[in-house]
């Protein structure tokens, strides 16, 4: 292979990266020893559920908006939106038409985008902007100026979404997209606002005997291999390899005060945490 760089300028790791194979496990391991910079360590990523909050209309959305406004001067927030019932409709239709998962992701993204636009109309008078994924470089400025920004929660994978192991529904949706935003910026918190008090032993909408789980490790949750979950399974898998996000929190947006409590660091709802200890790396 041609060596296209002046090696004297590179670090030891750099020399290996330039001349070696990126699939080499030893080189991958060597990158562990680099610092982990938290780009926005004070930001909180808050995901507003689609079916659980947005689809309920003003009964659910207005109180959540009021709570967001009340927190603008106290906590900086990236607000991502879920998709919800229109995504379920378009997924059903697209599956029936034989379209692949990447096309479903393009379609589902449009629904999360609609919800983000509606949320932005409600917050516009407070100076809150909506940013597309390719505008995220402006995000720190808006957060410093106004305390929050809105984005649609889907990751921008478009046609490049990977197939699920089973079925036809895109496996990485708005829970995953918001989690990855929190991880890449090294956020303070990842909070999911849904319509339940968090995680239960069964679906509380269907099983009155379902017991609330206030705190559980991602390792234990994966080992339980539950038939249903409060969060996309991709988020649990990604938690295991995340560098920054050690826990995620689920609160009930239909109960005023839960979002604020979670932002203030209180253990409301359910916390899923990573029980594994990562080796220390130099701070950036």
């Amino acid at each position: 292979m041609p060596d296209g760089t002046e090696n004297g300028l590179l670090t030891d790791l750099g020399r290996r990266l330039v001349s070696g194979s990126l699939s080499d496990a030893a080189i991958q391991q060597a990158t562990e020893a680099t610092p982990n910079l938290a780009i926005l360590p004070w930001v909180n990523v808050v995901k507003i559920g689609g079916q659980s909050i947005m689809d309920r209309g003003r009964y659910a959305v207005w109180p959540v908006v009021d709570e967001i406004v009340a927190n603008l001067s106290r906590h900086k927030m990236i607000l991502g939106t879920g998709a919800g019932t229109r995504a379920r409709h378009v997924y059903s239709l697209a599956i029936d038409l034989g379209l692949p998962v990447g096309v479903l992701t393009v379609l589902g993204t449009a629904v999360a985008w609609q919800n983000a636009q509606m949320l932005q109309y409600l917050l516009a008078k407070h100076g809150i902007a909506f940013l597309e994924p390719n505008e995220f470089a402006s995000l720190p400025h808006y957060l410093m100026e106004r305390g929050a920004v809105i984005c649609q929660g889907m990751p921008p994978y478009k046609l490049w979404e990977a197939n699920p192991r089973v079925g036809r529904i895109p496996p990485q949706r708005t829970d995953t997209g918001c989690f990855l935003i929190a991880e890449v910026f090294g956020a303070r918190k990842m909070i999911y606002v849904k319509d339940e008090d968090g995680l239960f032993t069964a679906d509380p909408k269907k099983d009155p005997g379902a017991a609330h789980i206030p705190r559980i490790s991602v390792q234990e949750l994966l080992a339980r291999d539950l038939n249903d979950l409060v969060v996309e399974r991709a988020v649990l898998d990604l938690m295991l390899s995340a560098r920054h996000i050690r826990e995620i929190q689920f609160v009930n947006g239909l109960k005023p005060g839960q979002l604020t409590a979670a932002l203030d660091g209180e253990p409301v709802g359910t916390v899923i945490y990573n029980a594994a200890v990562r080796p220390e790396t130099p701070a950036a």
Binding site: Q28, E32, R88, H89, P156, A162, R168, E183, L229
Partner: protein, 272 residues
């Protein structure tokens, strides 16, 4: 008060009110997928292996692509090469996270893809950024039977942190595979500077034997220390609905690409 007293306002569908995390519901969606562009061939030109070598490697390969333009519809993905390795090095040294590294590396492959599109411009090939692959690819294929895209998928800041280390796991092999899978392409051909897959590195081990065909699951089981293909592609192949194989060919050998397009067994075929 909302008319539904706080109930969600549902659109009627088979998935209405359901949890999309429910295993039974997910399994119930299993059904055939239609190939959107079944005549498409996805060709991935390696960055380090082909592009960085300059005209002696690149131009004969592009001539071969043009020679096949009449017979085969080709969409050309291009990898990033040594500039991505360099920015990975600087970025890692600064402590940047995987998502930032992925965003940066994707600009290097965009440069390579743009250069390839300039060299193929007189034959009608244009470079399409991801949003234009989503919307315009069929029109470009109808006009010129070919187009060029950025091999690295548009995961950007949303790239997955890998289990080990911080190198973005979805590179141009994964991007080319995913384009092939979503369109239901006829073939996915990864053009590199090796003949394909060996049991060991043939440069250092004289006992290395060539593997003409292997399943992704078997290759994962072999746990080879390095692979001429991104590991994530093996994982993706095991979940394939339509694109059930990828072929690795040596683009430094004239005729290999044409043989692969014709369906001959050249290089290594990795199948689902």
């Amino acid at each position: 008060m909302s008319p539904h007293q706080g109930d969600a306002q549902h659109v009627v569908s088979r998935l209405m009110r359901e949890s999309l995390m429910d295993k039974a519901l997910i399994a119930g969606t299993e059904s055939p997928v239609r190939a959107i562009l079944p005549a498409l061939n996805v060709i991935q030109i390696g960055g380090l292996s082909i592009m960085d070598r300059g005209h002696t490697s690149v131009l004969p390969l592009l001539d071969e692509i043009v020679g096949n333009q009449h017979e085969y519809m080709q969409v050309i993905g291009v990898g990033p090469g040594v500039r991505a390795r360099h920015i990975l090095s600087v970025g890692l040294d600064l402590g940047l996270p995987t998502g930032a590294l992925a965003t940066l590396a994707a600009k290097s492959s965009a440069q390579n893809a743009y250069m390839v599109s300039c060299l193929l411009a007189s034959h009608g090939f244009v470079y399409l950024e991801a949003p234009f692959i989503v919307q315009l690819l069929p029109a470009m294929l109808a006009a010129a039977r070919g187009a060029v895209f950025n091999g690295i998928p548009p995961y950007d800041l949303w790239e997955h942190p890998p289990a080990i280390g911080k190198i973005p796991p979805h590179g141009s092999d994964a991007g080319a595979y995913l384009v092939g899978e979503v369109f239901g392409a006829r073939a996915i051909i990864l053009v590199k500077d090796v003949d394909g897959l060996y049991t060991a590195d043939p440069k250092t081990d004289p006992h290395a034997t060539f593997i003409p065909e292997i399943s992704a699951a078997e290759l994962v089981r072999m746990k080879l220390p390095t692979l001429p293909i991104e590991a994530v592609v093996l994982d993706l192949l095991m979940r394939a609905k339509l694109a059930r194989s990828v072929r690795i060919v040596n683009g430094l050998v004239p005729g290999n690409l044409s043989r692969a397009l014709a369906g001959e067994s050249v290089g290594t075929l990795i199948h689902a």
